[in-house]
């Protein structure tokens, strides 16, 4: 299931503005990789270029090469919707479809893929909700609106919706920044479990979180406002947080700047 991601010389633009420059990194299957760094350093931009969500914004484009198990996802012949099915995404703010019930939210991706059979949908929904540790809380009210859940539940609903289509990779863009500590803990626990099946890349501003959940950590930074973000250091999480090899990384994680 899980796949390996190779980024080489990835550079992304918003119109004329270069947001990230020459990012090179490799993400191994079935690991959790954390992207950390100060605001505006391009972590989210890099994350969004992995499933080609970056180009959704007008004028945004990506250069360089991004491959998943050797296949270039920016190849001219590649169907962008297939890329996004393979590489799911959880956003910063929980964004369940407001007009849909809990059930419909979970199976939205499956329906988009043409799955119509009720038994298949019900089975997948239960499986995804169980994987997202949400099943017990919502099994009696699957027909109720998804937007009626608490923030933490909504975010787990969004995770269930993402993994219901069985992607290879799950990208998470600050998934806990809008949540309270208990919901955050629930989602971190969930990441440990999901690691068995998916490759996970998470952007976070919370360095304890990066240290707790990730195997590898990539530190991004910018020289000054207006400069493109660069990858400063990429190593095992333990190494980054105990003995980083770049001074700038150490300054950041010890709170001397950023």
């Amino acid at each position: 299931m899980a796949k390996r991601i190779d980024a080489s010389n990835v550079t992304a633009y918003y119109g004329a503005f270069k947001a990230i420059e020459d990012i090179n990194l490799t993400v191994e299957p079935k690991t959790v990789t954390a992207l950390i760094g100060p605001s505006g350093c391009g972590k989210s931009t890099f994350l969004r270029s992995i499933n080609r969500m970056h180009e959704v914004l007008p004028g945004a484009r990506v250069e360089g090469s991004l491959t998943i198990d050797g296949q270039d996802i920016y190849d001219r012949d590649v169907d962008v919707t297939a890329v996004r099915r393979m590489i799911g995404m959880v956003f910063q703010r929980p964004n369940p479809f407001p007009t849909m019930s809990i059930f419909d939210n979970v199976v939205a991706g499956l329906r988009l893929n043409g799955v119509k059979k009720k038994s298949v949908l019900a089975e997948s929904a239960e499986k995804a909700l169980r994987s997202a540790n949400l099943w017990d809380e919502v099994k009696d009210r699957l027909g109720k609106p998804g937007a009626g859940l608490s923030g933490g539940q909504q975010q787990r609903l969004c995770i269930a919706r993402t993994i219901a289509v069985e992607p290879q990779v799950v990208l998470m863009d600050e998934p806990c920044s809008a949540l309270d500590p208990i919901s955050t803990l629930a989602i971190e626990d969930l990441m440990f479990q999901l690691k068995d099946k998916f490759t996970i890349i998470i952007v976070t501003h919370n360095m304890q979180q990066a240290a707790r959940v990730s195997d590898r950590t990539a530190f991004f930074s910018i020289e000054k406002t207006g400069d493109p973000g660069r990858l400063i250091e990429y190593d095992n999480t333990q190494k980054i947080f105990s003995n980083p090899s770049v001074k700038k990384t150490e300054d950041y994680i010890t709170g001397r700047f950023g």
Binding site: N51, M53, V56, P58, T81, A82, V83, R84, R85, G88, M89, F91, R93, N95, P96, F97, P98, T99, M100, S101, A108, G109, L112, N113, K144, P145, A147, G148, C158, R161, T162, V165, N206, M207, Q208, A210, A211, R212, T237, Q238, F241, S242, N243, I253, T254, G255, R256, G258
Partner: protein, 363 residues
Amino acid sequence: MGETPHRSADAGTGGHTVTSSHQWPAGASARVAETPVSGRTPGGDGLGGGGGLPRRQAFGTERAFRGLTLAAGALVLVIIVAIAAFLIAKAVPALQANSESFWTYEGWFPNDNPPKFGIAALAFGTVLTAALALLMAVPVALGIALFLSHYAPRRLGNALGFLIDLLAAVPSVVFGLWGRDYLVGPVTDLSVWLNTYFGWIPIFGGDGPYGNSILLGSLVLAIMALPIITSLTREVFLQTPTANEEAALALGATRWEMIRTAVLPYGRPGVIAAVMLGLGRALGETIALALTLGSTYAISFNILESGGNTIAANIANRFAEANDTGRGALIASGLVLFAITLLVNIAARAIIYRRREFTESAA
């Protein structure tokens, strides 16, 4: 740094957040807090300061504004009641003088002695032309709105949106004259063609003459309702939260699938409201239909043959020649139009209300 990674990370972020949050905001807030404290004198009445609480103002702006808004709200009720009272008072004598059934008689001779008039054909024509107009306008309007909001480049979208709004500002008499003098030609040709090849369908049957038909009237109506529905639904579609659109795209939706999953369901109440406003315009449209319809008083589903009439068009056509009873009869027909519009609006509310659980949590 010889600590374990977890603890060092804790220390790192802890220190980072603590220092950054204390250097600036703490100092700043302290400075702000000092000003009122130093300005407060014992027994004085500084802002939020010591001394007794001030008395509530008897006539402050708060009360005045409250009174104004209340008066504005009440005015609406007064106007509605006044209109209803006027209509009923004028209509009742004419209805009592009517020698035929007001509900079923197909004809309009209120100036005769005894007066004979019935609303059936007019009400039927009103609903039929409006329904046909919406049938033609809504799909096109939704298509244009989606194109402008989600497919066209932003500049083109704004420019075209402006043009559409301009179309809404054209007076209805201009549409009416255009329909009567120009559109009638192509519509007659189309009618002949439809009659030749699809004459076996009752609505396209008949022997002519063609031209000033329900088809022409409802086409003009459709063109008039189009800009309203388009510009409102465009606004609604533009308000779809980006987060929901991105959620659909990230699940691997194509643009059309994204629109179906995120945009259309979110915009549903707004679309219904826009359609209802369009329907309101279509039901109440007067002069354009007075100029394009054939003004007959028969109930017929045939949309090609010259004929058709609506309540509003009939009022415009017949008011000048009406005597007292005639005016009363026209006012009675106006009451019926009022009732039809009211029913349509109630139905629309009911549709929106039925889904309130989902739409409310969306807000």
